[in-house]
Symmetry: D3
Subunit: 240 residues, 6 copies
Amino acid sequence: MNKADKSIKTAGKAAIVKPAAAKPSLLAIKGGKPAAKAAAAKPVPLKSASPAADDAPVIALNLPMAKLTPAMAAYFKKCQDRLGFIPNVLVAYAFDMTKLEAFVAMYNDLMLGESGLSKLEREMIAVAVSSQNRCYYCLTAHGAAVRQYSGNPLLGEQIVMNYRAARLTKRQRAMLDFAVKLTAQPANVEDGDRERLRRAGFSDRDIWDVAAIVGFFNMSNRIASATDMRPNTVYHGQAR
Amino acid sequence: MNKADKSIKTAGKAAIVKPAAAKPSLLAIKGGKPAAKAAAAKPVPLKSASPAADDAPVIALNLPMAKLTPAMAAYFKKCQDRLGFIPNVLVAYAFDMTKLEAFVAMYNDLMLGESGLSKLEREMIAVAVSSQNRCYYCLTAHGAAVRQYSGNPLLGEQIVMNYRAARLTKRQRAMLDFAVKLTAQPANVEDGDRERLRRAGFSDRDIWDVAAIVGFFNMSNRIASATDMRPNTVYHGQAR
Amino acid sequence: MNKADKSIKTAGKAAIVKPAAAKPSLLAIKGGKPAAKAAAAKPVPLKSASPAADDAPVIALNLPMAKLTPAMAAYFKKCQDRLGFIPNVLVAYAFDMTKLEAFVAMYNDLMLGESGLSKLEREMIAVAVSSQNRCYYCLTAHGAAVRQYSGNPLLGEQIVMNYRAARLTKRQRAMLDFAVKLTAQPANVEDGDRERLRRAGFSDRDIWDVAAIVGFFNMSNRIASATDMRPNTVYHGQAR
Amino acid sequence: MNKADKSIKTAGKAAIVKPAAAKPSLLAIKGGKPAAKAAAAKPVPLKSASPAADDAPVIALNLPMAKLTPAMAAYFKKCQDRLGFIPNVLVAYAFDMTKLEAFVAMYNDLMLGESGLSKLEREMIAVAVSSQNRCYYCLTAHGAAVRQYSGNPLLGEQIVMNYRAARLTKRQRAMLDFAVKLTAQPANVEDGDRERLRRAGFSDRDIWDVAAIVGFFNMSNRIASATDMRPNTVYHGQAR
Amino acid sequence: MNKADKSIKTAGKAAIVKPAAAKPSLLAIKGGKPAAKAAAAKPVPLKSASPAADDAPVIALNLPMAKLTPAMAAYFKKCQDRLGFIPNVLVAYAFDMTKLEAFVAMYNDLMLGESGLSKLEREMIAVAVSSQNRCYYCLTAHGAAVRQYSGNPLLGEQIVMNYRAARLTKRQRAMLDFAVKLTAQPANVEDGDRERLRRAGFSDRDIWDVAAIVGFFNMSNRIASATDMRPNTVYHGQAR
Amino acid sequence: MNKADKSIKTAGKAAIVKPAAAKPSLLAIKGGKPAAKAAAAKPVPLKSASPAADDAPVIALNLPMAKLTPAMAAYFKKCQDRLGFIPNVLVAYAFDMTKLEAFVAMYNDLMLGESGLSKLEREMIAVAVSSQNRCYYCLTAHGAAVRQYSGNPLLGEQIVMNYRAARLTKRQRAMLDFAVKLTAQPANVEDGDRERLRRAGFSDRDIWDVAAIVGFFNMSNRIASATDMRPNTVYHGQAR
């Protein structure tokens, strides 16, 4: 092993935290919706909540955290309690409460709210889109979620690498084909594409949800890439 | 003129409504934020508020409008009062109040909230991104906004067609180069790209805002393409 | 509005000339063919014929106008009389009479000569090709022509932005699909593509004409981009 | 050798005609310009002028030859006398004299008229552009021309295959880099690209000529691909 | 969880075998070179050597295993002894001993033979190339190798997802930039690219090795994709 | 002819060697397999075996030839005897006998060993792949092979330029469509693609062979491009 190899080894190893048991993933906590009138005002002490190796800046922009609003403080506390950590994307947005609240509201509605799509399906879309855009943050966080929700570690890897290698149902395949086309060639999506989703059993409301999740991750992928957002290292070991 | 030509002519002509005077454009109304305690509860009668030719469905999905929440009813009324119409993207989202409110909150913060970017600059980003993705809805609505904010009809056209043809300041050019690269090749954005923005005078907070707007329109472009969203015809004649 | 915004506004506004009434567009004047024995020898005084704001150089190359041949002087005069201006592409070519005459001869035959394609259809091809190549000059000049010939301002905008968003007849859609494929992937055009045009009602002669117009604008788009050719500002306001 | 292999062999072999001696190539004959005062009115009997194997249709469209105008009859005769054959592109255009004359006028001016570019350089551009577009007709005909003008058979092959593999002068490399960029990404050509040509010794008039030739072959490549135009087989053996 | 989700879960879970301890990975066993004089003639009983869930066909082509030559039988035995399994790529090639031996000879020389590149660096190239080509088999097998050789699980994930997100040394970055360019745009690699490697400390022999490994995985990725080659499931859990 | 043109002419002309009679091409000599027990130990004096103009370095890396092993010396001698020259790719690999032997073993098995694909078909794949990758070395060497094996000079040119322009059998077309898709978009190859080959008469073993040859030339193209490998000039004149 040459010197360069060794420095990588040293830098990376300690950072992996294997959680004792798989827990609900990501931002998977309802209640962050704007209405949350929660009292909880004391900001979560972020430093202590994260493993040592995560002390590195979350993004490549210098944007100090603002004081959490009561609603967001309560939300961060829930994340800490249930996940054992605050997802870094929330830390990244926390320089501005208006932006954080808008992001959380949209995220929670899309990924955890009512929908004809299962939560696994929504995470599969997240990963297929993020693979197309090669987004390190989202592939890491949402790849873990696919592993968790499916109980199938391989499925998560396959969608990260090339969703065409996964053994999907016809419904799932139609869904991811649409997601990837809408990501790569949005201008070419037309009636025929919607019709294919309908033939695979998706309602018009489901089609909206697919489109909205594809859109959301095309947004998030770009914000993550633009800011060099780093995922919590804990994701890597989850649900393997 | 052959027959096919004629049918197009007949169909399209009446639809154009030239507004008597240019007004603030788009969703450009503050106050739609979730907290909006507004009383205004009577839903805006959408049919009568829109010109006849806009009776065509706004999107290619069958998603009937839900009852507006008081906050959203007030917001729609403001749109009607100040713009003379309800932007079709709002009508499209109005099948679900949670989604509509999340969209409006994020949109208004990004495009109308505090920022080191002028409103014109934000609209220029919206159009440059939408041109890359060839999004008919967003090019129409935000092309009009660039024409209005700049008072320069040519500038709007140029960014719709090819932003490189516009006579931009160095700052604007750096901003749009970043926006287009982040749109077309998000995986390739790195430190050097952020550095170029800093050298052009953008603060780290400004860089976040550029990235967030680029992300937002990469989302909206895809939702519009996935649903065949049609812009209000009134945009076409605005600020020419 | 920040300073940069203002300078754009100042520079651009005055340049827009809204023509009192829509007139036949572009180079749409027969008779420029080489044989034209016309007497008219006095060169058109170009400066006075153009609006003030068009004093900026037409292209980014320093190529002084040559003395017009009698045929070309007559042609320029016709343009001035009927359009109210000389299209800048003609001014650009006017540094060399052989090149100008060859261009005019080919243009007028393709766009105004006998053909199974309507003039609107030819302009639709011009715009769809130019959109693919993002050519500012041709999108501006021929977008105006589509608006004029169709009497449908929206149609012009739609083909500039994304022809798939336009409500086209099957014939028009087949024609533009062929045009865009031939533009973007010429090496992949094969028998099946020609067959699709035939099934949509195009004769072999029509197919030649489609191909020749696609070819012509792939040429013109590149000459315009290579020279930074600027369209007459008057186009922007035409037939809105 | 299997059966399929054999049928190809049979079909192809006889078709190659090795010319006794290299002659000036292509359309390389001045005087086809519209003014051509030539008397020569009797149309060249095309069938006898071409080698047997060239009896296959020149294009995949059924467009019977028209009666040649005196100017074009004279031009075809010159081709036959000097080259020993009529280039198939001329045969293809000969269904319509206006189109043929416009094409010949433009071609002869660009490729054989006065210019700061040598004829070899113009042919190098033709081949580099046609390689980018993978145009069988133009690579065959103009590849032969590069072999002839340069007296260097390898150079022709290299530009057909990948111009970056050729040992070019700085001037030639700058010229072909510009040609290939203008072909592949016309919307991205800007001042810097023109500046690079100027630094390599090209005048503004030379830049126009480069652009015009690039444009012309982007047109011709597409007409050839759209019609499946077949080159005269004689080109294959020329100047090897 | 809906039905489709469940079937995936059932199918995938049992398949993961977490090795008690990390062992040398892949084909990482010298001695498979053609000369191998080994006696070992009894073919490895493949079925028993693989975990139950790997009973699925290794590739989507029906190519029954041939009798192993003594050299290959010895090689398979070594794999079994040291790795605990036979890498599926070897099983795939084992329908033909000439092909298997040629593959093993080339693989072992490139990845395990003498070189100025460390074994980790070679695996990093393998993964960066396979990420560009989105090859499920190679990303899985060689991603595990990067995790093992580096002792840094994150590094493996990062290069799978987007090597630009990894914190690389200048040498490693130059190496992977070259690898990805050579993969994505081989025709554009020129002297400048080689020079950049030299400036990063690579000798000419090292450059050959980089090129040869890039070439090898561009071959293997395509054979794997063409045959739908499935990686041993054991890789997924290795060195996490 | 300007000066730059002339220098090219001088440099290239003498280099072309027209072989008196077509001979078996390339590496087309069996017996280079590792087992080769040949005694022949005296290394072929490479300088004298090659024409003068080939004295230029074979690759852009400084890698001196090693002493040939007896097997390789015998193989080089056979090349010299039968082809009249040593293919430069062998010279390039000859800095390291392990690499040379592995390359020769794999090459000879794929291109000359038993297969359901004719030798012509294998060369057609080689050229179609190399055209996609624009590899000067492989197009030159294998283009000559297609000309030789088919006895149809045009066929070789067509596949170099654009295989879609060749008049292929259905079988050949299916084969090259697969080869080009696997080259350009390996991640998208799926069951349907294999099925298309089966329907065109290819067995599963044939499909492996197609894939392996496509893979091999995707490797060789990249090694050639990475090292600027120059083909023997003799290829250019072969089988015209």
